[in-house]
């Protein structure tokens, strides 16, 4: 590799962020190029200079104490002039809350909550540049990545031939537990597939929540929850592939 190719990699090299292959390339180049060695040394000397204690600001004395005081001690409130009116209001609010809880359709709200969670996880994964923790279209790379991070081994398959390209995986949190999230790409759409072991065989379902399609599927002892803004029809194809 030439200097022009090496230079952009030198920062990541000095930061220990290169993959093994590129790291070896850079090391090889550095053996024979004084200019790039000087650049690398410059980056490292800048790091040492920035880490000198003069430049790192220590927290001022008393700030921690101030923060604890601010957060943990509630301000003594003004004595209330008409305590009975507050009691009446509180009683009213409690009664209203009890009525609302008793009268709400029980199943629906739990379902809505689940859909909200699943779609929320999908949207967040696209927003925060946190789509994948392991980036690979190779199922044999993605599957072992989950080992040790989960108390189960999620099934990982690539369906590139059928138009669903495996992009990678990450850990997510759904229904009060850590789940595997596989990310597929279909045309321009990203699809999150959340997977966790299913204790009971829930019914399969196709639902729509705020414009997102959500398919729930129970197969091979796992619960799959597929979320995307792609067409429901297309998602159903993926569900079928996962079920096989």
């Amino acid at each position: 590799m030439t200097c022009v190719e090496i230079r952009p990699l030198l920062h990541a090299f000095a930061d220990g962020e290169l993959d093994l292959l590129h790291e070896l390339e850079v090391q090889k180049h550095l053996k024979s190029c004084a200019g790039c060695v000087a650049e690398k040394d410059s980056i490292e000397s800048l790091r040492n200079a920035l880490r000198s204690n003069d430049l790192i600001y220590g927290i001022p004395a008393g700030l921690q104490k101030e923060i604890r005081k601010k957060l943990f001690t509630s301000e003594p409130g003004r004595p209330r002039e008409n305590p009975w009116i507050w009691k009446m209001l509180a009683a009213g609010a409690t009664a209203f809350a009890i009525l609302t809880i008793c009268l709400r359709p029980a199943g629906l709200s739990e379902r809505e909550q689940f859909l909200g969670e699943a779609v929320g996880s999908h949207i967040r994964s696209l927003q925060a540049a946190h789509l994948t923790d392991v980036v690979s279209s190779d199922q044999h790379t993605v599957k072992p990545w989950f080992a040790g991070k989960l108390d189960f081994a999620p099934p990982v398959s690539d369906f590139a031939e059928q138009g669903f390209l495996l992009v990678g995986g990450r850990l997510d949190y759904l229904e009060g537990r850590t789940v595997a999230a596989l990310v597929y790409r279909h045309n321009k759409h990203f699809i999150n597939v959340f997977i966790w072991p299913s204790e009971n065989a829930a019914e399969n379902s196709v639902e729509n929540y705020h414009g997102y399609s959500v398919i729930n599927l129970n197969a091979h002892g796992f619960q799959y929850c597929i979320v995307s803004d792609a067409e429901e029809k297309e998602l159903a194809n993926l569900a079928e592939l996962l079920r096989r």
Binding site: H11, E39, L46, L55, I59, P60, K70, L71, A129
Partner: protein
């Protein structure tokens, strides 16, 4: 979550990272008084949402809150400090002709001034990388950008400092 639970969780998740939080706030705000205000505001937010932090990476979580609080604060109080950075402009990195010097002897006051003069995004990336030792992925998370952007910001930040000192003949 009860008040005592929140308090315990705050002590466990947020307090250990208060040094880093302050250093970041101080570099973004530029003075002690505003940095202390930002850290306090960030702590109020962190305390409110501490139940949402599932402990994967508490330090990045705390620094993200501090960074966002500082941003909001700067936008409100010092809008001129927020300058648009063109992250796609990679021209500076490929400049291989500039001789790079060593910073061993660099005067720390001069270095501080040069660092303060960097655009906010560059300064933020350098502080998180060099002083707080965050990985590219963590910086990307804190700054809400892609890893490639972090890489480009870091190399451009370093290049600016190198050029600054080379011009002054200080290296």
């Amino acid at each position: 979550m009860s008040a005592t639970e929140s308090q315990a969780q705050f002590e466990r998740i947020v307090m250990p990272h208060l040094d880093g939080a302050y250093n970041l706030a101080r570099w973004l705000a530029g003075n002690d008084h505003d940095a202390a205000d930002i850290v306090q505001d960030a702590c109020v937010r962190a305390f409110r949402f501490v139940g949402n932090c599932h402990g994967e990476n508490p330090r990045a979580w705390v620094l993200t809150i501090v960074r966002n609080t500082a941003r909001t604060w700067l936008k409100k109080n010092r809008p001129q400090a927020i300058v648009f950075i063109d992250d796609d402009d990679l021209a500076e990195i490929e400049d291989t002709n500039c001789a790079a010097g060593l910073f061993h002897g660099a005067d720390s006051a001069a270095l501080r001034t040069a660092l303060e003069a960097l655009p906010l995004e560059f300064r933020e990336a350098l502080v998180l990388r060099e002083m707080e030792g965050l990985s590219y992925k963590e910086i990307a998370e804190v700054a809400g950008v892609a890893v490639g952007t972090v890489m480009s910001r870091l190399s451009r930040a370093r290049r600016q400092l190198q050029n600054h000192f080379a011009q002054k003949g200080a290296l």
